[in-house]
């Protein structure tokens, strides 16, 4: 039935599918490196560090979106949760508490929001979109109330701020941290039964229950793990920005969703995956970074991210259909 030539053709088109987005990113990068408007600045090490460093927080935020998304649940509170964690950890740092405690507090606040989301979804049975949207609005209110709308900039320890600005062998430390976290999430999703079970939950929840998975427990934990990652993103954001702005989180929600959806169009086509997220973020970052240098207006970034979100989903749906629906 399957003649070998046809088979290698199948393999080839599969790997084409897997790396299309990466090729596109490289193509765009080359374009900006050659284009007169950007050729001076774009292909420099400094610019690479700026772009790469700037994406570290987004990578972690995207992973926070990814975990519930694999379970077929939306966590719209990731941005707000990130903002809360950065304010919490920054105020602990500013109060002179040890760094470990401050970081821990940020992570804990993220996980706790996840617990709240998870309980509301599994125990009360409210739709996750509603729950996380409501929770994010509440978080926003609480943060505004506590900070009076002002950023925390004073008294942050240099040791933590250095994490956001230093590089090792030209690679921003904060990016390395984000990649390590991505590696851990990859391990969780690919090399543990738990990760498998999340994918099963997303593919067919009814069947997942019937093969004996603890559906409610998995659902609950996906929000907690997602919350923890949002917390981590918030703590990193303090290092990156050198401050904790009360509404910093909102700017992350859309790009994180865009990247998480786009991940299904790269590396492992047809399924949301960690390295697909990283590739998607690279793709978006190269475009945004280039446009930025070219002096394009800020709203261009909105335009790019919005378009990427929709076309990413469309691409993923198309790939899934082509692989047989």
């Amino acid at each position: 039935m399957a003649d070998p030539r046809a088979h290698s053709r199948g393999k080839l088109s599969a790997s084409l599918e897997a790396y299309t987005l990466l090729f596109l990113a490289a193509l765009v990068a080359i374009l900006f490196a050659k284009l007169p408007a950007t050729a001076d600045v774009f292909p420099t090490a400094a610019n690479f560090q700026a772009i790469a460093g700037g994406q570290a927080v987004l990578i972690v935020a995207t992973l926070a979106v990814l975990i519930p998304l694999i379970c077929d649940e939306f966590d719209l509170s990731v941005g707000a949760n990130l903002g809360l964690a950065s304010v919490v950890s920054a105020s602990f740092m500013a109060a002179g508490l040890p760094l470990v405690v401050a970081v821990g507090a940020g992570l804990l606040s993220g996980a706790l929001i996840g617990v709240v989301n998870g309980l509301l979804v599994t125990r009360v049975g409210v739709n996750a979109v509603i729950v996380t949207l409501g929770v994010s609005v509440i978080i926003h209110g609480v943060v505004q109330y506590r900070t009076g709308g002002k950023s925390i900039t004073e008294g942050l320890p240099a040791s933590w701020l250095n994490v956001g600005s230093e590089s090792i062998f030209g690679i921003p430390v904060i990016l390395l941290i984000a990649l390590v976290i991505a590696g851990l999430v990859y391990y969780l999703l690919t090399y543990t039964p738990y990760g498998r079970q999340l994918y099963m939950m997303g593919a067919n929840r009814q069947a997942a229950k019937l093969v004996g998975l603890r559906a409610n427990w998995l659902l609950f934990t996906c929000f907690v793990v997602g919350g923890l990652l949002a917390g981590a993103a918030g703590v990193l954001q303090v290092a990156r920005a050198g401050a904790a702005a009360p509404s910093v989180g909102e700017s992350f929600t859309l790009p994180a969703f865009a990247a998480a959806f786009l991940s299904a169009a790269a590396i492992k086509p047809g399924r949301y995956n960690v390295w697909g997220c990283v590739v998607a973020i690279t793709f978006l970052a190269v475009i945004n970074g280039g446009l930025n240098i070219a002096g394009a207006s800020v709203y261009i970034a909105d335009f790019v991210n919005g378009t990427a979100l929709i076309s990413g989903v469309a691409l993923a749906v198309y790939l899934r259909r082509r692989r047989g629906a």
């Binding site: 399957a2 690919t190 543990t192 069947a207 019937l210």
Partner: protein, 506 residues
């Protein structure tokens, strides 16, 4: 006027699903399309209806011809081609009228509102025209499966311009119907054919075809192996063409299942179980025993299995395994019990995930070594399972949805056995499964049983129960009325007992 498909070819990546298929339908004929699982039947139908785009070939109806790749669902519809696809879709929670409207839309009244009176009238006319025993406001889920199937057929046929001519395609319409219901459906199909409709009919129940089909085309691996006229359509002949070996060879490979009934300990014991449609069921299954549950649809067969599985709570009575009660765990299945559910797509399949992930679904932890899932070991194990169960797929990494229906079913059975359960529950285990695969599944289950597993199987296919089981318990209106075994175990006896009749020799 005839419908002709010529040289239809369709590839899915490396898989050649159809390889130059020719078929001709004639007015007034019922043309059976036969072939093993994954032989390309559904794919051929999908190319005819424009759901899948063929790579090459031509279709012609009467004088009109069209290149096969140009066929769209709209054009196929225009040609008068109507199809009930394999995973026939009716909406259980909607009424008959709403189901009819799902095909063509509701009649509209002033301001675009739905004209319910006209809609009901239309559906009453349809029910009458197709001789369906239902009322417009009944919910589909309240109807008998055969009636539901008739509603689905009427839905696809309702907007033909004239009742004569046109093509009606039925892809496995009888997969979960009882023998009596199959007859009723056949009567209806014969009526359509008599009005001049060209019927294409897919089934794995080869025994249904002699005397019913006027012609048969057999597919194997995407190629036509032959066409038979009405007089040549015989069970053994079909099997030989479908599988490529004779029926005797196939059956001689399967060992007969002999168990010594007296020397066995009872392992699974149900006493006066009540819950849902089950009103009082008692039975026992010994080690290595395969026990069937017969009865009409609605007699509570599936509910009975669910109460043993642990997803439905018994109101009273007891379910014990080896003397230990299987206690209710808020709907979580019991660890020692595995179920092959009746509805594969809704209850068992993870369609977007790979074949491997589907097979190891209940046993993901098995290849977990030193903190890592060993993917290579997992794939090797799965490759072995694929070979042993005769599953046909592009690779072990193929998305589950690209497997044909019968191959998905084999994979679900394999999944259940991989979990090494004490009790295996099977609900219509061989629906949509071809002759050879059915024998293979039976053999797999027998082998598993011979190692001491208890098997409880529900099937509308009474022949299958007789073939597989040591004894069969008959459920009538939720009550276990009798147990048949030995020489009394015949399809005829089961049929009569299922209707609540008393069989003298029992």
């Amino acid at each position: 006027m005839t419908f002709r498909a010529e040289g239809i070819t369709k590839r899915f990546g490396p898989t050649v699903a159809l390889d130059g298929v020719d078929i001709e339908l004639r007015p007034g004929e019922i043309h059976a399309l036969c072939g093993g699982n994954g032989s390309g039947k559904s794919t051929l139908i999908k190319t005819i209806t424009g759901v899948e785009i063929a790579d090459s070939g031509t279709f012609s109806i009467g004088e009109i011809a069209s290149a096969a790749p140009d066929v769209t669902p709209a054009r196929s519809h225009e040609w008068g081609i109507r199809c009930l696809h394999q995973q026939g879709s009716t909406f259980g929670s909607l009424t008959v009228t709403e189901n009819f409207a799902a095909g063509v839309g509701f009649p509209r009244g002033f301001g675009g509102r739905i004209d319910w009176r006209a809609a009901r009238k239309h559906s009453r006319e349809l029910l009458e025209e197709f001789e369906i025993d239902a009322s417009p406001d009944q919910l589909l889920e309240e109807l008998r499966p055969v009636t539901r199937q008739m509603v689905a057929i009427a839905r696809v046929l309702q907007d033909r311009s004239d009742s004569a001519g046109g093509v009606l395609i039925l892809d496995e319409p009888t997969a979960s119907l009882s023998a009596a219901d199959v007859d009723r459906l056949h009567e209806a199909v014969v009526r359509f054919a008599e009005t001049g409709t060209m019927v294409m009919y897919v089934t794995h129940r080869l025994g249904d075809l002699p005397g019913f089909a006027s012609r048969a085309t057999v597919l194997r691996d995407g190629r036509v192996v032959g066409e038979l006229g009405a007089s040549e359509i015989r069970h053994d002949r079909l099997v030989e063409m479908i599988v490529g070996v004779s029926e005797e060879e196939l059956l001689s490979a399967a060992s007969s299942h002999v168990v010594d009934a007296s020397a066995r300990d009872e392992r699974l014991v149900l006493k006066d179980v009540v819950g849902g449609p089950v009103k009082g069921a008692s039975l026992s299954v010994g080690a290595g025993e395969i026990v069937g549950v017969a009865g009409l649809v609605g007699a509570g067969r599936s509910s009975l299995l669910e109460m043993v599985f642990g997803t439905q709570e018994p109101q009273s009575g007891s379910v014990e395994l080896d003397g230990e009660p299987l206690t209710w765990r808020s709907g979580k299945p019991h660890d020692q019990v595995a179920l092959v559910p009746e509805n594969r797509v809704i209850d068992a399949a993870f369609l977007p995930l790979s074949l491997t992930e589907n097979i190891v679904a209940t046993t993901t932890g098995r290849c977990w070594r030193k903190g890592f899932l060993n993917h290579r070991a997992e794939r090797a194990e799965v490759r072995q399972i694929i070979a042993d169960s005769g599953i046909k797929a592009a690779s072990e990494e193929a998305p589950f949805q690209t497997l044909s229906g019968g191959n998905q079913q084999k994979a679900i059975v394999a999944r259940c056995l991989r979990g090494e359960p004490e009790v295996l529950l099977l609900d219509e285990p061989t629906q949509g499964v071809d002759f050879a695969a059915r024998a293979a599944i039976h053999e797999t289950i027998r082998t598993a049983a011979s190692e001491g597993l208890c098997v409880l199987v529900v099937s509308s296919d009474l022949e299958e129960l007789v073939l597989m089981c040591n004894k069969v318990v008959v459920l009538v209106d939720g009550v276990t009325t009798s147990t048949v075994s030995g020489p009394d175990l015949t399809p005829e006896n089961l049929e009569r007992l299922g209707f609540g009749e008393v069989v003298s020799s029992v």
